[in-house]
């Protein structure tokens, strides 16, 4: 697995680590200024996650969709594309998995569960393919089209639930247990958290992204097109096809993230009037994880830890939960600004090597 990290040198590794530390420090300063005890706050985060199985379980549970969304963003980044549409792909994946689970509820678990997961991935794939096709065929910039696809997904899923899968409480019915990823075993292990088997799906996805990009010919092509569409074209690769493929695969990861929420965490889908935010956090996770699969896994763990720890921070130290979002924003800010520093550095050194 050391291969996973070989693409980055120590300097680039240092940047996210420092950013995290700086983000936490700035958060501490803000807490001090407002009059909260930062040590107690951070202590309650760490203690709850590592010492209380419930919060540990909830953290891992929250990590599942975040990691998958992060992988989706990182994958498209690797091929030179910016997939802002993870949010929408996640929502259609969520609905598709839930719809599949409900409508084919008579099937045995061994068929229904994989089928529902596949349905989520497939819906995400479709939602990713459309902007990919628009980009390859009509040169529509993927940032624009994926943002628009997010809104289409938001309102389409709401419409579909309302008209075809509606039940009281502004949501779909609960999925049959044959399609559920939830596990009494994991729940008992973690004092009743919502931790579910989706974690295995997420880990497989981490491995899959690494294997696909660095071990297969398709991945070679995708990376090549990402780095240099011109040279790839000259070498006989189809740039258009790789763009579509890249966003489609990215969409699969995002769709799976939705399926994990639908089949694991919630067991249903609510009509939402706003985005889940997981897709957008996925961008931050990918950025912090340097777009490497292992990095995304670690960054996803950190973010979900902060988010869940933030809840106990509120309960134990009385620190408003919003502060966690400020800290996350600060971390991203520092990652962003260190990219600027690194960029300047690399420009200097590149000139020197000539």
């Amino acid at each position: 697995m050391s291969n996973l990290l070989k693409k980055v040198n120590w300097m680039t590794l240092l940047i996210p680590v420092i950013s995290v530390i700086l983000g936490l420090l700035c958060g501490a300063v803000i807490m001090l200024v407002i009059g909260y005890n930062p040590v107690l706050a951070y202590q309650s985060i760490v203690e709850s996650i590592f010492l209380q199985p419930y919060y540990g379980g909830e953290t891992i549970r929250a990590m599942i969709p975040l990691v998958l969304a992060g992988l989706a963003v990182a994958f498209s980044f690797r091929t030179g594309l910016f997939n802002i549409g993870v949010e929408g792909q996640l929502m259609v994946g969520w609905l598709a998995s839930v719809a599949c689970a409900i409508s084919l509820g008579h099937l045995p678990k061994i068929l229904l569960l994989p089928l529902s997961i596949v349905a989520g991935g497939a819906a995400g794939a479709l939602w990713g393919f459309i902007p990919g096709f628009l980009k390859a065929r009509f040169k529509v910039h993927e940032v624009i089209s994926t943002i628009m696809m997010n809104y289409i997904a938001l309102y389409t899923t709401a419409y579909l639930i309302k008209n075809f899968l509606y039940t009281e409480g502004e949501r779909t019915p609960t999925i049959p247990s044959a399609a559920s990823l939830a596990s009494p075993f994991l729940a008992n292990l973690t004092q009743g958290s919502r931790l579910h088997w989706g974690i295995i799906v997420a880990i497989i996805a981490v491995f899959a992204m690494w294997f696909l990009l660095w071990k297969t010919t398709k991945g070679y092509e995708l990376r090549s097109v990402g780095f240099s569409p011109d040279a790839s074209n000259y070498a006989g690769m189809s740039v258009a096809r790789n763009i579509m493929l890249s966003l489609t695969i990215s969409g699969i990861f995002a769709g799976l993230a939705g399926a994990m929420e639908g089949l694991g965490t919630y067991q249903y889908m609510t009509i939402s009037s706003a985005f889940t935010g997981i897709g957008f956090n996925g961008i931050a996770v990918a950025l912090l994880g340097l777009n490497t699969p292992i990095g995304v896994l670690l960054a996803g763990a950190l973010f979900s830890g902060l988010q869940n720890g933030g809840l106990t921070m509120q309960a134990n130290a009385g620190v408003p939960v919003e502060l966690v979002n400020i800290i996350i924003a600060l971390i991203i800010f520092f990652v962003g600004s260190s990219y600027a520093i690194k960029w300047a550095l690399s420009r200097f050194s590149r000139k020197g090597k000539k």
Partner: protein, 362 residues
């Protein structure tokens, strides 16, 4: 050059970190999460609207703080709220309070229904409450350890409908709902029934924003309805309704007098200084929370019961501020109020019931 800078940075981080850790150790020794077993503790988990949503989250918190004041409980420890920033936070937040041995934990809003149900099943000893929903187990029976608190919003809406029907000059009034759901339909149908009861010729435009947290949409819809000729809009849409106030104030500034009917709380202040709030349909979440908390303290936790707060229980009604409401309208309101309480009028809650009701008027 850069390396040096990093080194300095790291050094800074380490030093600051150890200082913080140092001062932490001295303090944290005194602190522990264990609580005095004797004290009574009541907590609530907000939905994503947050505790200062000027609506039912805020109202619920007011109920708890009033109770705390009356019973010498400490705010922040004995009575406490946890905010949720995303739907997936509901469950951990509820669990946290249960684990911290709160004597009662309220989930504010029907969005928390399935989370409450799960937490209630996993923690049979916990005592929970939910607003605007009925918590049931898998066989659809009410859960023994959850108090389900519901309101007869249609009754309060009927009364503000009466006010609107008697106040409108254009004979057109508007209704803006948050999300089109069974709950908000109760508001809409109650309101329409009230309008029609006193003013059968008046037209009621009803429209839904699709969101409780979108003031911009609320404003846009208000613009449409006012332009269509409505001079009163009943906004039952949470934070979305704040956009309706914005639009009404804007029109008032330009010399066009239009009214808004507020919801959940007395929203008179919200309409100032242009004074656009005609009246408000108050939903006394605070009172319900106060009552249930009091019962729980007294050892009469109403678990497994579906509590329904209506006009009779003073759980809903029109706002105490009545300066913009005519004497005549107030009289009518009081008459209808007693008719509803004594059961001679049954206020419709669904579209179907409203149709049947409308038929009786003709």
């Amino acid at each position: 050059m850069f390396k040096k800078r990093i080194a300095v940075l790291v050094a800074f981080v380490v030093v600051l970190g150890s200082i913080l850790a140092g001062c932490g150790n001295s303090k944290s020794s005194g602190n522990s999460t264990s609580t005095k077993k004797s004290a009574f503790k009541a907590g609530m988990v907000t939905d994503t609207g947050g505790v200062d949503d000027k609506s039912f989250n805020q109202s619920a918190w007011e109920g708890l703080t009033t109770y705390a004041k009356d019973n010498d409980l400490k705010k922040g420890t004995d009575v406490k709220y946890l905010q949720s920033t995303q739907p997936s936070d509901y469950s951990p937040n509820l669990n946290t309070m249960v684990h911290q041995n709160f004597n009662i934990v309220y989930g504010i809003g029907f969005l928390m229904q399935s989370d409450i149900q799960k937490v209630a099943e996993q923690n049979p000893k916990a005592q929970l409450g939910i607003i605007d929903a009925v918590a049931v187990d898998k066989s659809n029976k009410p859960l023994k350890n959850v108090a389900s608190i519901t309101f007869k919003e249609e009754q309060g809406s009927f009364l503000v409908g009466v006010v609107a029907g008697l106040t409108t000059k254009t004979n057109k009034v508007g209704f803006i709902g948050g999300i089109n759901s069974a709950l908000i339909k109760k508001f809409e149908n109650g309101f329409k029934a009230g309008v029609k009861a006193v003013n059968p010729d008046a037209e009621v435009y009803a429209q839904y924003a699709g969101a409780f947290d979108a003031p911009d949409k609320g404003r846009a819809i208000a613009q449409t309805l006012y332009t269509k000729g409505a001079d009163i809009i009943y906004a039952s849409a949470g934070n979305t309704g704040n956009g309706v106030f914005t639009e009404a104030k804007n029109r008032a500034k330009n010399g066009k007098k239009v009214w808004v009917i507020g919801v959940d709380k007395d929203q008179h202040d919200q309409g100032m200084p242009e004074n656009v709030t005609l009246t408000s349909m108050v939903k006394r979440v605070d009172k319900a929370i106060y009552d249930v908390t009091k019962q729980t303290k007294a050892g009469d936790f109403p678990g497994g019961q579906v509590l329904s707060f209506g006009l009779k229980e003073n759980g809903v009604g029109i706002a105490p501020t009545t300066e913009n409401v005519s004497k005549k309208a107030l009289d009518e309101v009081n008459q209808y109020k007693s008719k509803i309480i004594d059961g001679s009028i049954k206020v419709p809650t669904t579209d179907k019931e409203f149709k049947e009701y409308a038929a009786t008027l003709k």
